[in-house]
Subunit: 248 residues, 2 copies
DNA sequence: CGCAGTTTTGAGGAACTTCAAGTATAGTGG
DNA sequence: CCACTATACTTGAAGTTCCTCAAAACTGCG
């Protein structure tokens, strides 16, 4: 395993793909320099666990590339995904020792990390970091609440449509493609991971995806490559109002 | 209706019951004075709507006493509660125009409010406020994720037990009573509100409460007054590990 | 007392899960 | 290059949970 080696600054912050979306987004050049001094990169392979729930977490960081998940597990094994971490998303919580969740890389992941103590100290001196972190946390809270509606009140078909529309939208904004007309993207999650996100079984996920395909809402090439011919149709299936709220 | 009148400082911040838990918790005396200058109180009656989803929100504030709920509603009327606001909880989001949710007072509520603009300006000059708000938002995010597990993976009985244990715990910490042995509290929610919280129907809520009563997990006097003879038993029923995570 | 709102209880049905095969796809080693 | 295996996915049938619809009981209040 080529795992988890610390790499010192493979690139400059100024050229970083998440420079203007991550926790450092509001930083001025001088603030960025101080961050740069304490940052390091870590690589995780697909399937690798970044941190286990309850483990001591001595770092925080941002996803630079790849996708990771946040999950909770009950004693009897039932698991619920509670967060989907895309590039620029923040991992860890200042002012807390352990991780409250399992964090798992679902694709190969590069993370920009800071040891927690130095980061916390820097945060106290740098309001721009704290401000941005607050903003990002509020966005995540909104997303979590949106997801509570999905989990609590939508049926299986609507849940799948909701997940697809979120992935499609985030993929589109990440790649700066328009969010209208036909959309094409790859599912970054297995059927099981989708089930864990949606509070369903993987069989139900499979059946509903088949049904959406049968009804022409989506097309599939292979198991993961999805084409959405009409995004507003997908939104309807998700039970959302036609316009759709914005996602950061 | 004795509604919604603005009251100027009926009491001093130093004597405020939420002085050390609300967004002002970290403020020094001088910072508190500046907050005090711009604060005002608002009263809401049980059942009254504080703000509608989508409406412009020109204030933020803290619940001083009483209980309010945050809910989302789909076009066809399905509703999901996404937050339960107890004393010291914060309402509103700096840097956003409209409210994303309906906020409704379920009991009589007193709120300590600030007009948004002055509050935002003060926040920029007062790191203690921003720090505390970040801390509270992170706590809320944890609570939301905990709730996602409840909504996605627990059955009806476990959902009810989870809700009861949360209310019992928060009531106990609020009133500084020990969280062990027998607990007594009043349900601040109707069956319908509980259903909206848990993603169930009110009939299922009623049936499961009856079942928990039949099995001796809880005792009821009237419809709302609950006694929990053995809290660890309730936690078991909720499907949580025996110790139980801490809630702020 | 009688009405309105809340809650309980019952019967039947729909949605989703569980259990069980069966199919595809990619990687591995002969 | 191809059988062999592991993993991911699909599909079917039966079972369970929860919802829907309906009616009745309880509570507080004019």
């Amino acid at each position: 395993m080529l795992q988890d080696e610390k790499v010192k600054s493979p690139h400059e912050c100024e050229e970083c793909p998440i420079r203007h979306r991550a926790v450092c987004a509001r930083c001025e050049t001088d603030e960025l320099e101080r961050l740069e001094e304490i940052k390091y990169y870590r690589n995780f392979e697909a399937g690798q666990t970044v941190i286990w729930s309850g483990d001591k977490m001595d770092f925080v960081g941002s996803v630079v590339s790849g996708i990771a998940t946040l999950t909770q597990t009950m004693e009897d094994g039932r698991t619920q995904m509670v967060g989907l971490l895309l590039p620029s998303d923040f991992v860890g919580r200042p002012g807390r020792e352990g991780s409250a969740y399992d964090v798992v890389a679902t694709t190969d992941v590069v993370m920009c990390c800071f040891r927690k103590k130095p980061f916390e100290q820097l945060m106290e001196r740098t309001p721009h970091i704290a401000q941005r972190l607050l903003e990002m946390t509020l966005d995540e809270l909104d997303a979590a609440r949106e997801w509570m509606l999905v989990l609590g009140r939508k049926n299986a078909r609507e849940k799948i449509a909701s997940l697809l529309s979120i992935i499609a939208r985030r993929d589109a904004t990440l790649n700066l493609r328009p969010t209208e007309g036909a959309l094409v993207f790859d599912l970054p999650l297995t059927r099981e991971a989708m089930a864990d996100y949606l509070g369903l079984t993987l069989e139900t996920v499979s059946r509903q995806i088949s049904a959406l395909k049968r009804d022409g809402v989506i097309h599939l090439e292979g198991k993961r490559h999805v084409t959405v011919p009409d995004f507003s149709r997908l939104m309807e299936e998700a039970g959302d109002d036609s316009d759709g709220g914005m996602f950061a």
